[in-house]
């Protein structure tokens, strides 16, 4: 047991830290388009520095970093309050799926532009009728000359309007059990059959989109992992997403807690026992999240696969972030009711934390069924 960094890990951290110090692009500009361009530039810069594909094998242009190095990198990014790269989904999901299930031609075609942020990727899994029950999705792909025609609606798609490619799961065979008739495609977003509408959240911002496919064409060579294997390929993708979430979350919460501590003092509440007790619960929860992530990573290094324990981390994080932002608004009093202020925005935004990326109910199901071995109901 060693919860500190060893010599080589420390060296790696120092390398990341000094690179970030030298290259941090400063605060993100206002406005969605400007911010996205900024992040695209930032990713290019990261890629030039060799940091964009930190978890990717070297043969595909990545850094081939160990799990620990990835965690260090995420922590340092959060610590430096560095912006996210523009192509998050390409880096965390798209690339890994192509590397795992794609053909050599597909790797050749897609991987480098993901790293360089030249081509942005988005995800087309969720549908209005298929949230937790992903396998029930209805978007269908019908065989056409040299490819497939896709019709249906996807939702909760981030950066769809900036994206060149969409990871799309569609039903190619309606006559087999629901998990078996799905196929995984990479769909070109720049075509007439694809319509994108912004989806405004309760925060007033449009972080996501709805995407409508009307006989959108996908050539055969953009099918990944074989016809009818879409469920299996998608699940791999989701596991990568959840594992990718780990590292930085606790650091981000910890940074927020430091800001919250300042806020408590600014409002002269540092001697209020109820506030102190709520702060202590958050501090303890944050430390448990951080340590749980380290334990899960250690286990993953041994077994090679991310375990279902990641579901606890997701659940912990959602709970923490909701409590934390609500406490901030409670402390702010009437100011915590003002529209558009940072904490108010975050408090509202946090309500989605227990829904996005798997609802807390689904996380509990996974823990019950896959960790505790309880019978499943479905």
């Amino acid at each position: 047991m060693d919860l500190t960094l060893n010599e080589s890990e420390t060296a790696f951290r120092d390398e990341v830290r000094s690179w970030l110090e030298a290259n941090h692009p400063g605060p993100e500009p206002h406005g969605d388009e400007a911010a996205f361009a900024f992040r695209r530039d930032w990713q290019r810069q990261m890629h030039e520095g060799g940091w964009a594909g930190i978890s990717w094998p070297k043969e595909f242009g990545g850094r081939g970093a160990t799990l620990i190095e990835q965690a260090i990198f995420s922590s340092e990014m959060a610590r430096a309050d560095a912006p996210s790269p523009a192509n998050v989904l390409g880096l965390v999901m798209g690339g890994p799926v192509i590397m795992a299930h794609g053909s050599d031609e597909q790797k050749e075609r897609w991987l480098e532009p993901i790293l360089s942020a030249e081509e942005i990727w988005c995800q087309g899994f969720s549908e209005p009728e298929s949230g937790s029950d992903l396998a029930s999705l209805k978007t269908k792909a019908v065989k056409a000359d040299g490819g497939w025609k896709v019709t249906g609606q996807k939702v909760w798609t981030t950066f769809a309007h900036e994206s060149k490619w969409c990871m799309l799961v569609a039903r190619t065979d309606p006559n087999v059990p629901k998990h078996k008739g799905l196929t995984y495609f990479i769909c070109d977003m720049e075509q007439d059959g694809v319509e994108i509408r912004p989806l405004v959240q309760i925060t007033g911002e449009a972080e996501f989109n709805e995407v409508f496919f009307e006989e959108a064409f996908i050539p055969d060579e953009n099918l990944v992992g074989g016809e009818g294997n879409g469920w299996m390929v998608a699940i791999t993708t989701l596991m990568n997403e959840r594992a990718g979430l780990g590292g930085g979350a606790a650091v981000a919460v910890s940074r927020d807690l430091a800001a919250l501590t300042d806020l408590v003092k600014e409002h002269g509440l540092e001697n209020d026992p109820a506030i102190r007790a709520r702060m202590a619960d958050l501090l303890i929860g944050c430390e448990a999240l951080r340590l749980g992530g380290m334990r899960a990573m250690t286990a993953q290094m041994k077994t090679g696969i991310p375990g279902p324990e990641g579901s606890i981390g997701k659940w912990e994080w959602a709970t923490l972030n909701q409590s934390l932002t609500e406490l901030a608004c409670d402390i702010l009093g009437p100011e915590g009711l003002e529209r558009g202020t940072p904490w108010t925005y975050r408090m509202l935004r946090s309500r989605a934390n227990s829904i996005e990326g798997g609802t807390t109910e689904v996380m509990k199901n996974i823990v019950a069924e896959r960790v505790l071995g309880l019978p499943r109901l479905r």
Binding site: S126, I202, G336, L348
Partner: protein, 329 residues
């Protein structure tokens, strides 16, 4: 001993529910909230029904009914999530009637009761429904309550997350004239009115969650068949019904047993604040992603619940008062 509405009160409730459902359709609420504005015609219609003066004495132009009748309306206005300057006007009326001088009452109560010369309501943090109002009743930082002629001032608007109501920055303590009377009971009545609105908000969010849980299917079943959802909905009922019992009882105490009002009002406001907020959050969770979108109506309820819950004293303050009034000193 009989704990329900009498026939007349039940009729007011039913009439209000139907009237508000017809006028404040989801589309209307949305349109008004997105513009953070009111529809004067709707206020005129409500005034025509005598709602603004429901609890104001007949001598001052009101209907001379009690707190129970007032909270029936507050609950239904919460249920409808209606953008209307009703609550602040009612609060102004309660305080002015309770603590104003005869002259102050003569000068302003009739307008409040008829809805033609509305009252705004404020505290050191926020001023509610000032635009278009004739006067404001304002709690000051110095422990006094003042009456302000709004013809003389032009408050700065304040944008809160709750867009179904209009807020402005506080006026400060250096304008207006102090109300001479004891406003303690009126303050408690205000808490009960807000609690009633919170009960209505909670009830509406629960109704929406339950309806959705019956319709939405995942894994081949309505999601309401899963205890993860159905038990959450049961908890909503538990919360709303506790808040409702306490609120109705506090309204009754205001009318019939004023010595019980301070404790009853503190309990009602504390419980209703937590209930409505928890129910709205849980209703979003039951809805999943769709409940988090602007196009769904839940967030108007969520935000109004949050504002009502945190304004007029946060739950912790009222719990402190409950402890103090229950033998803990």
């Amino acid at each position: 001993m009989r704990f329900d509405f009498d026939d007349e009160q039940a009729e007011i409730k039913e009439t209000a529910r139907q009237f508000l459902a017809a006028r404040f359709t989801p589309a209307v609420v949305r349109e008004l909230a997105e513009g953070n504005r009111y529809d004067d015609a709707l206020w005129a219609e409500v005034s025509e029904l005598g709602w603004p003066g429901i609890a104001i004495a007949e001598e001052h132009g009101g209907q001379g009914l009690g707190m129970v009748e007032l909270i029936v309306l507050c609950e239904e206005l919460g249920y409808a999530c209606a953008p209307l300057p009703f609550l602040a006007n009612a609060c102004a009326g309660l305080v002015l009637e309770g603590a104003g001088s005869d002259e102050q009452k003569r000068g302003w109560l009739a307008g409040i009761a008829s809805g033609e010369g509305r009252g705004a309501f404020g505290d050191p943090d926020v001023l509610i429904d000032a635009e278009g109002a004739a006067c404001a009743v304002v709690y000051g930082d110095d422990g006094e309550v003042r009456l302000v002629d709004l013809a003389e001032v032009d408050p700065d608007p304040l944008e809160l997350i709750d867009q179904t109501r209009r807020y402005a920055k506080p006026l400060g303590d250096d304008i207006g004239e102090v109300l001479p009377g004891d406003f303690g009971a009126a303050t408690d009545r205000i808490l009960v009115a807000v609690a009633a609105e919170l009960v209505g908000i909670g009830q509406r969010a629960m109704d929406m969650a339950v309806e959705y849980a019956k319709e939405r299917e995942q894994f081949g079943r309505p999601i309401g068949a899963y205890q993860g959802v159905s038990h959450a909905c049961a908890k909503m009922l538990y919360d709303v019904e506790e808040a409702r019992s306490l609120t109705y009882a506090a309204a009754w105490a205001a009318d019939a047993e004023p010595e019980s009002l301070p404790l009853a009002a503190a309990m009602a406001k504390a419980r209703a604040s937590e209930a409505a907020w928890d129910v709205c959050k849980a209703a979003i969770q039951v809805h999943g992603g769709i409940g988090f979108t602007w196009e769904h109506d839940l967030h108007f309820l969520l935000k109004r619940a949050r504002a009502d819950a945190r304004l007029f004293g946060a739950p912790g303050q009222h719990k402190e008062r409950v402890a103090a009034l229950s033998g803990l000193g």
